[in-house]
């Protein structure tokens, strides 16, 4: 052993139920030396960092919040697989002292898994203020692992926690006590199962633990067991399990009995009745009507900030940074071939630069979301909106991201992270591009004004309603058929409110903004360049470019909607950005820049009103813009889901537009 010279890196995993201050402890341990990525192949954030102390290096992994090791959600499955398979050197169980009993359930599971552990007894101040005195020493004696009382928000107890981690790493653990036992009723059952499972069972989990999980009906353990066993052995086991489906209740109850007993030993005399769970504030915030009004006010506030603070900054950035650097570049490249100037000025800066101007708006949005999340409000918002959302197969949490999509779909897709369950989150991401964003509304306003004069508002409104109906239908179908059978039950903790932790909030905001900048700098940039190339080659005239030829190729389909090839080209360029449609039409119809009057006149001469309505529908439902597609790819971490989103929207948009035009023609309306 080369001890001392090359100290072994000790892996420390932070486990805990949501809302126990896990991120606060993680930030305190790692400071800014942390890395945020995704768990391999999952859409769940993985935070890890380095912590050094006395020359020792600890690699700290923040596991997703989980209530049990039962794999009831993707988050729980990740946490439990990491603990049971990767076997970190030390697990720090972060426990909320003010709701100790419920938190001890996870501790019980961790003890039964048999990992080297330290318990971080957080939020001691909250417990104390409610009259609850938790005796850390008594808890330590009951658990047989070190217990460190802390108030992570003020940094209290962090040093002691590090000392305990170090002590456990060096093997100086507290003397082991008899860990939580399963209920006597389960023991014979476990023995029966043990006898039925071959001794040479090869699965990546501890044997006894896996057998208990099997009795609990854990689907993923069932799968790996089935795969590892010969069919006849599995059949015997399956029969045993089938006869004892109630075992899961027994096991969970025995863990809670242990938790209640341990709680009594650690707390001595009862107390804590005065710990506020936020009932007073929730009299308004979860009220069926008052809660809605409060939520609407909150959303209005976010919008107000985005428009009054963010939009001016966006304008300033665009005028002073994007436009100027594009101009400067054009000057500097005078004499170079035309295509290279165009590539850099239009493709590069025009594409990614424009997206970068979104940063102020996004920063405000992400900051607001991080604060509302940290304070504990999000669960309340989800609660009041659930009544409406579950009718279309979504849950309350999806409302906020969807609603934010009215401004721009990109932050909405990125904001879908607040939706907890994977199926609900993916559904939210997949339908968000159907929210009519501001850029699409610009195009719609132009068309309705050109064709319908006084009735423009009514037509716009009808089209938005049509759009929302399609969204609701898509959400319903996706959640019903694509994610069929996945647990979408709405069981959610309503956490206690607490003052936001500035560090946690700023780190979360910074991380999300960083992700967006990465997105703009890579995928969005690449897509802008591709679209630029398609619209600039072989001719600089978009009508004769590759895009133009694709548009001509689509003319027969356009014919079904009363649209000629020029409209198809304009539609295709909306992939760059939705408002691009107008710029393209100006070029292709030769109406030039300036007022829209000439453009409107020209438009009315090349199509009938029915075709215009059909085009509006097409524009609204068409493939999301490049930035949205990139965001979908980033958030789903899957080209398959990205392709699915593009494909289904493409299909719906053409289908709806064709139906509109053909029905109008059938009845002789607007043709």
């Amino acid at each position: 052993m080369t001890e001392g010279r090359h100290p072994k890196i000790v892996t420390v995993a932070l486990a805990g139920t949501p809302n126990t201050g896990k991120s606060t402890v993680f930030n305190a341990l790692t400071g800014l030396r942390q890395h945020v990525g995704n768990w391999p192949g999952k859409t769940v954030e993985k935070k890890s960092g380095i912590c050094q102390r006395d020359g020792k290096v600890f690699s700290v992994v923040d596991l997703p919040g989980s209530y049990s090791l039962g794999a009831n959600s993707t988050e729980e499955e990740i946490a439990r697989d990491f603990l049971a398979r990767e076997r970190p050197d030390i697990v720090v169980a972060i426990v909320d002292a003010s709701s100790l009993e419920r938190n001890l359930y996870l501790v019980c599971e961790l003890l039964q898994l048999g990992v080297p552990m330290v318990v971080a007894l957080n939020m001691m101040d909250v417990a104390r203020s409610g009259g609850l005195e938790v005796d850390a020493g008594a808890l330590e004696a009951a658990l047989g692992v070190p217990v460190v009382p802390m108030v992570a928000r003020n940094g209290q107890g962090i040093q002691q926690l590090l000392e305990s981690i170090e002590a456990v790493a060096e093997g100086e653990t507290a003397s082991p006590v008899d860990g939580p036992r399963l209920s006597p009723a389960v023991q014979p059952l476990l023995a029966k199962l043990d006898a039925a499972v071959p001794a040479d069972l090869d699965i990546p989990y501890p044997r006894r633990w896996a057998l208990v999980k099997l009795l609990e009906g854990d689907p993923s353990i069932r799968r790996s067991m089935k795969a590892a066993l010969p069919p006849d052995a599995w059949e015997r086991i399956r029969n045993i399990l089938h006869q004892h489906e109630q075992a899961m209740l027994e096991i969970a109850s025995s863990r809670y009995d242990w938790a209640a007993e341990t709680y009594r030993r650690a707390v001595g005399r009862p107390g804590g009745e005065n710990i506020s769970l936020g009932e007073r504030a929730d009299r308004l915030l979860t009220h069926p009507l008052g809660g809605l009004i409060a939520f609407a006010a909150m959303v209005f506030g976010i919008y107000w900030l985005m428009f009054n603070l963010g939009a001016p900054m966006q304008g300033w950035l665009n005028d002073n940074v994007v436009v100027r650097s594009a101009d400067a570049l054009e000057d500097a490249l005078r004499g170079w071939p035309d295509w290279s100037t165009s590539l850099l000025a239009n493709g590069l800066i025009g594409g990614a630069g424009l997206v970068l101007t979104f940063i102020p708006i996004l920063a405000i949005l992400f900051l607001a979301l991080a604060i509302l999340e940290d304070v504990g409000y999000m669960a309340r918002a989800a609660f009041v909106m659930d009544r409406f959302m579950h009718r279309v197969g979504l849950r309350g949490q999806s409302f906020l991201p969807l609603f934010l999509g009215w401004g721009c779909n990109v932050p909405a897709i990125m904001g879908s992270r607040i939706v907890e369950s994977r199926a609900a989150r993916l559904t939210t991401i997949l339908v968000t591009p159907l929210v009519p964003c501001a850029a699409r509304m610009v195009v719609i306003a132009l068309f309705t004004a050109a064709f319908f004069g006084g009735a423009a508002v009514l037509v716009s409104w009808s089209m938005v309603m049509m759009n929302l109906a399609v969204l609701a239908l898509a959400a319903l179908l996706i959640s019903r058929f694509v994610f069929r059978g996945q647990d979408s039950s709405f069981v959610m903790e309503i956490p206690r409110y607490h003052a936001p932790n500035i560090r946690t909030v700023l780190l979360a905001t910074g991380e999300r903004v960083r992700r967006f900048v990465m997105l703009a700098g890579t995928v969005i940039l690449a897509m802008s360049l591709v679209v630029w190339a398609f619209s600039s080659f072989p001719s600089n005239d978009v009508g004769d470019s590759i895009l133009g030829h694709i548009g001509r190729g689509l003319a027969p389909v356009g014919g079904l909607m009363g649209l000629d090839w020029r409209m198809m080209v304009a539609l295709l360029t909306s992939f760059v950005a939705k408002e691009q449609t107008i710029a393209t039409l100006r070029v292709i119809l030769g109406t030039g820049d300036g007022a829209n009057g000439a453009l409107k006149t020209e438009l009315t001469s090349i199509m009938v009103p029915a075709a215009a309505v059909s085009f509006i529908a097409l524009q609204m439902l068409f493939v999301p813009c490049a930035a949205s597609v990139a965001a979908i790819r980033q958030e789903t971490r899957s080209w398959r889901w990205t392709g699915f989103a593009v494909g289904y929207m493409l299909t719906i948009s053409f289908a709806v537009a064709i139906v509109i035009y053909q029905v109008a023609r059938l009845f002789g309306l607007g043709v």
Partner: protein, 84 residues
């Protein structure tokens, strides 16, 4: 007919009423989720918010849980009639 008419779906409790969990039904995933969040047979639950439609909020083991309307009807509780 149920022999014990005090066993009712959780969603029928009025705010302020208390019951103990008697039976969980409605699929393994849902039951497992309830169990992990402290809703085991015999647990005392107090209704806090129930508007007759939409989701509900209950208090149990010193924490609060929100459940969807459908979910609240799949959980049976034994009503405690301490009030006349």
């Amino acid at each position: 007919m149920r022999t014990d008419d005090r066993v009712v779906p959780l969603g029928t409790l009025r705010p302020g009423e208390t019951g103990t969990v008697a039976e969980l039904s409605g699929g393994r995933a849902f039951v497992a989720r309830c169990l992990s969040m402290g809703c085991t047979p015999g647990t005392q639950v107090t209704m806090e918010r129930n508007a007759g439609r939409g989701p509900i909020i209950v208090k149990l083991r010193g924490t609060r849980l929100a459940l969807g309307r459908g979910e609240s009807m799949r959980l049976l509780v034994r009503r405690q009639d301490d009030k006349p």
